[in-house]
Each structure stands twice: as C-alpha cells, then as structure tokens.
C-alpha cells in the first residue's frame, strides 16, 4: 500500500482522497495546507490522521511514497521540487505549472532523481476517451487530420461565482487567467496528435458587460484558437455563454470521424452513408440512434460494476500512475505531452496578450 500525502486542502482535495481510496492501492497518511483550518476540515471530514501546515515537516515526519499537489499553480514548482527532493513521486493538479519553463524544472528534476510525475489530465480517461485510445491503437481512424474541441463553463456556477466575486482569487493571477485553468483539459486531449512545431492563432474577448472592476473586466470569457502542426489542425472553442455547457471533441481521420461527448460519456462514429436518393437519407438517424443506444448500454454496464463515478476517470488515471510507480509501467501522461500542453498555453497567452 502506497503512503500518500496531499498538499492543498481546497475543494479538489476531496476528489483526490476519495479516488486514492477507491483505487485500494494507497493510504492517505497526511494532509497539508498553509491554512490550519483548511487542514482541519479535510482531516476531520475524511478521517485523515496526519495534519500539517508545513510541507517540509510533513515530508520529514510521514515519509510518503507519493505526494498529490492540489494547491494553486503558482506553488507547484516549489512544492513538486520539495517532494521530489524528499524522494517522493508527485501527482500534480492542473494547471501543471504557470509556464513551459516552470514545467520543465519539475520534469527535469523528476528525471534526474528517477521519480515519476503525472498531472490530473483526467478527461482522457473518461469512457469515451478510453474508447478513442483503443480506436487509435488499431488505426481505425487512419491519420488524424483535424480535432475540434469545445469546452464550456458557467460563470454563474459555484466556481464561476467564486472567481467573479473575488478580484483576489488566484485565477486572476494566472497568465492566461480564466482560460489558463481550463486549457490543460482542452489541450491534453489533442497534444498527442500534434508536434512541437505548432503554429497558433488565437482570438479572446469579453462578451459580458463591464462590471466597473478593473481586475474582473480584464478577464476574457470567450476564446477561439487554431493550431497547426504539419498536416494536422486543431480548432478550439472555450465559452462562458454557450448553452448547454459543452465538453466535446470531434476527431476527423482519413478513414473515419468520431464525436466524443465527455458529459454524456458517449463516442459515436460519423455516419458514412452512400445509399442513393431521399429514401437513402431516412436511415442515418436510426443508425446513429443505435450507436447512442450502444453507448447507453455500455454506461449502464459500467454503472452496475461501480465504474461510473463522477471522478472515475481520475481513478483510472491514478491506477495507471501507481502502475508506473510500482510496476514500472508506461507513464499515463508522457512528460513530453505535459511539456507540450504548457508550451501551447504559453503561445496562446502570448496571442491573448498581443490582442489586449
């Protein structure tokens, strides 16, 4: 059983504790936060024995095998370096780091010390993400020509309200502000299909009315981007206003095209229909309905096997990460992909800054 410690006791820490326990492979031995009351609330609610406000002290006393870092991203380099230097493997919440150069510091140190690092790019491990992984492995889509990714968020939801009502919220200090906190999710799905020679075009703007607060009003809420790497392109739409709030990916290949909906947990192939005349066009909708039906049945099966938790994807990712640690299995998120995500974010931030 791995001894695991968590640094950062905000709301995402609950998900880490629950999913670590659900894997059955780790025991959360301690939690740490600079704010003692936040340490207390997580430890009391989750029944965790070790409580610390100093990460170094926690590492010295508990000697964990793995440290999960769930703090705001500006602290990731320092905390990850501390944990790696103490001999721990590290699992980092997204955004992995503020910049590509920061992410390189963490990845290089891990490599030098022979330790594993991963990041919570959980959506690649949702049921449709895992199915896409299988399709790509057997080359069912052919060469990937284009990816179109949509990601929505709700500024009136709990998280949106927390950000929009507090000009001091850490999101306002991110180089890419609100988008920086979701771009990891968006780009993690596409970086495997592009190289490090990516060209970037970006358009960001604020669609909501001005509030009068200068900090809040510098926050764009709509982002469009276009990436090109060799013969592959990616378009991205990140929106605060589109409804319903979207979380989708369309992968266009030379053999086939698939559409993934991460909220509905479905993956369907586009219909390739060649029957003639109006009569022939009666059938595709039924073919699609059947495909969605199969997805539904698969989801019911997952639910009945208790594999359909909201954070099931994080559970899959953690299992693979712990496999990498304990069985020297392949990294669930290759370090090169982490670095590429951060590099593209740097480019997008530069593009946004050039506009403003």
């Amino acid at each position: 059983m791995l001894k695991i410690a968590i640094v950062g006791c905000g709301k995402i820490a609950d998900g880490h504790v629950e999913q670590i326990r659900a894997t059955g492979r780790g025991e959360v031995v301690a939690v740490c936060d600079r704010e003692p009351l936040m340490v207390e609330q997580l430890a009391v609610r989750m029944g965790i024995p070790g409580r610390y406000t100093d990460a170094q002290e926690m590492l010295n006393h508990c000697k964990p095998d793995v440290v999960h870092i769930a703090t705001p991203p500006e602290s990731h380099v320092a905390l990850a370096s501390l944990a790696l230097s103490a001999g721990c493997h590290v699992f980092v919440e997204k955004p992995f780091a503020l910049t590509a150069s920061d992410s390189r510091i963490i990845l290089d140190l891990a490599k030098q010390l022979g330790k594993k690092v991963s990041v919570n790019y959980l959506y690649n491990f949702e049921p449709p993400g895992l199915e896409l992984e299988k399709l790509l492995a057997k080359n069912a889509l052919g060469e990937v020509l284009h990816l179109d990714t949509h990601y929505g968020y709700n500024l009136n939801g709990d998280y949106g309200l927390a950000v929009m009502s507090d000009p001091g919220h850490w999101v306002h200090r991110l180089p890419g502000k609100l988008f920086h906190n979701v771009l990891d999710h968006v780009l993690a799905k596409v970086v495997a299909h592009i190289g490090d020679d990516t060209e970037v075009q970006v358009l960001a703007f604020r669609r909501r009315p001005a509030s009068g607060d200068p900090v809040l009003d510098t926050l764009s809420d709509e982002l469009r981007f276009l990436l090109r790497s060799g013969g592959t392109t990616v378009t991205g739409l990140i929106s605060a206003h589109g409804r319903p709030v979207a979380h989708t990916l369309r992968v266009v290949g030379t053999k086939n095209t698939v559409e993934l909906d991460y909220t509905a947990r479905t993956l369907v192939s586009s219909v390739n229909w060649s029957q003639p005349s109006a009569l022939g066009r009666l059938f595709p909708a039924f073919v699609q309905a059947k495909a969605f039906g199969r997805n539904g049945l698969r989801n019911v099966g997952l639910f009945s096997r208790y594999e359909y938790h909201y954070f099931q994807c994080m559970r899959v990712l953690l299992n693979r990460f712990y496999d990498a640690i304990e069985k020297d299995a392949v990294d669930p998120i290759p370090p090169a992909h982490i670095l590429r995500v951060c590099r593209v974010i740097d480019q997008l931030v530069l593009g946004m800054e050039a506009q403003s």
Partner: protein, 339 residues
C-alpha cells in the same frame, strides 16, 4: 451604538439592517463583498433620513485586512456565511471568514458580537418524536460532520465563536434560525422534500416545518442584538407552523403543480440506510447525502420553541399565513417571468 452587519447585501442581511433601523439603531455599517444590491442604500436612506448608513466593502477571506471594517463599531451582527458550493468552499466561506472577522473585532475591542448560526447545529438526532427542540435544552453537535457540509461548517463556526468569546470576553449572542423563507429566498426547503426525475419526493410528511419569515427572523436578530443578555442563544422560528405536507399542498396549489411521491419516515430512514450501504459498496458512485443520522436530525416530527425570543420582547410581525401567501405569490410571479 454603531452596528456592523456582515453579509448585509444578502437575503437575510439586508432585512437585518432594516429591522435594526426600525428598532431604533441610528448608525449602521453595511458590509458587502462587492457592492450593495441596487437601490438598497438609497431606499434605506429615504426611509430613515436621520440614520447614518455607511457602506463597507471587504472580502472576509482577507485575513488581517479587516481592521477598517470593524473599527469604531460597538456591535457586529455576523450574518455572512457560505450557503452553497463544495464542502471546502462552504467551510472557508463560513469558518475562515468568521475567524478573520473575530480576530479583527477582538483586536479593535468590539464590545458585542451577534452570530447568526443555524438550526443545523442542534444535536437533534437524539430527540424522540414529539419532543421540543429548544435553545434551552437541546445541545449543539460536538463536531457536526455527520450533519453534512453545511451543518459541519456552521457547527465549527459556533464552537469557534465560543472559543473567541471565552478568550476575549466580548458580549456574545447567538441566533439559530430554522428555515428562513420569503420573497428572494429559495422555493422549497429540503426538509419538505426534493425534486428528482420529474417528481417531487415528499420527505417531511406530517413533521412541522420550522419556518421563520425573513422579516420576522431579521426582527429577532435586531431585538437580540440591541437588547438580549450577553451569553444568550435563541432558536428562531415563527408561531403557527404548518406541517411539511400542508406547506407543500399549498405550494402545489398556489405556485406550481408537481407530481409528488410521498415517502413515509420509516421508508425514508430505511432508504437512507440502503444509500449508505450502496455508497460504501460502490466506492462513492452515489453520494450518501441522506444518512440515518441526517434523517433522524432533520425529518423526525418535532415541536419547536421560540419562548426565549419572546422573553426578550420579540413579536412575530408577519403572520405565518401572510408570510406564506406573500412568498408564494412572489414565487408564482418569478415563474411567470421566466416563461
């Protein structure tokens, strides 16, 4: 006496300011996180031209930066709290904010502090059917984790408030409102039931619904702030409480029709045991929002006392019948404007 009201732009907070002014306070500092609701200050100033009404903007999460907020006040009514969101957010917005405010208040020697707590802190699971839940006899939860995220945050807040009081000796008063309702508030408390799958699952049955109309609640807070003895604590509920079933029946008649599924107490309790079992077996696939402890605490038919409030001169200004009528016509209007 200058009174600071935190969370004064909120559903209850703005009514507390009004009640304080109605009951004779002449200097009120209105705390808001960003800006007061449109027209609030202008309206109060027009109705109470002799009152000094100040606006103080502050983020209560900013530890060490609340000196200006509390400086020069004689009494604080602390109504700001986290009402929704994840457990950690609710805790931060309730407990951290209170710690920060109390530190500043103690540093600036504020003489009197009134905490708006909640019914959710009462250790009600031990009571039997028909018992009276009372500020005089019902203890508060020692920790509160079993009451869920909100109950835990409010319980920790109240214990911390008492710790500060013991250390610094300010005059303390605590109010624990039941279900606060009124125009601008929520439609149906979870004590009545929950909506799911196109149905309304009626969970409260014949249990009394511990309502307090928002203006009556605000009157109670103002009365306690201005005249309650130090160290006192009050349950805040109105008279003539309806049963959950009667309240729902009227809601369905006056606001919106709903397909209801009555769930008897015994079935609800059995179901909560099943939910806890499934939660554990499925490794949390469904959250254990209703546990036997929560069901015993919130849904067992009890009686409620407001004798403590009456002993300090509180009188219910809006009758329960009028309060429900006003609330339901507001909700009906809201539904019309949405469609």
């Amino acid at each position: 006496m200058k009174v600071l009201v935190t969370g004064a732009g909120g559903f209850l907070g703005r009514r507390i300011v009004e009640s304080l002014l109605l009951q004779g306070a002449r200097q009120v500092r209105v705390h808001v996180r960003q800006a007061p609701p449109r027209g609030m200050i202008e309206d109060l100033q027009a109705r109470f031209p002799n009152a000094l009404i100040e606006i103080a903007q502050a983020n209560l999460l900013s530890r060490g930066a609340l000196g200006a907020l509390v400086n020069g006040v004689d009494c604080i009514v602390h109504a700001a709290a986290g009402m929704k969101g994840a457990a950690a957010d609710m805790f931060a917005n309730t407990v951290l904010t209170s710690r920060n405010l109390l530190e500043a208040a103690c540093e600036h020697k504020v003489a009197r502090i009134v905490l708006i707590s909640s019914f959710s802190v009462y250790q009600a699971a031990a009571l039997k059917k028909g018992d009276v839940l009372s500020d005089a006899t019902t203890p508060i939860e020692p920790v509160g984790v079993e009451r869920g995220a909100y109950g835990y945050a409010k319980t920790r807040q109240e214990h911390m408030f008492n710790e500060f009081q013991r250390e610094h000796g300010f005059e303390s008063v605590i109010l624990r409102p039941g279900v606060i309702y009124g125009p601008g508030g929520g439609a149906l408390s979870s004590r009545v039931g929950i909506r799911a799958l196109g149905f309304f699952f009626e969970l409260g049955g014949d249990a009394l619904l511990p309502l307090t109309y928002v203006e009556n609640c605000a009157d109670a807070v103002a009365r306690a702030a201005l005249s309650a003895p130090p160290g006192s604590a009050f349950s805040v509920v109105d008279d003539d409480l309806p049963t959950c079933r009667a309240y729902l029946k009227r809601y369905r008649r006056e606001v919106e029709p709903m397909r209801r599924v009555p769930v008897p107490f015994w079935a609800f309790r059995l179901g909560s045991k099943g939910l806890v079992w499934y939660h554990k077996r499925s490794k949390g696939q469904l959250p254990a929002v209703f546990t036997p402890y929560v069901v015993d605490s919130m849904y067992r038919p009890l009686r409620y006392s407001n004798e403590g409030l009456k002993s300090i001169g509180w009188v219910q200004r809006i009758s329960t019948q009028d309060g429900i009528r006003t609330t339901f016509s507001y909700l009906k209007e809201q539904m019309r404007s949405k469609t």
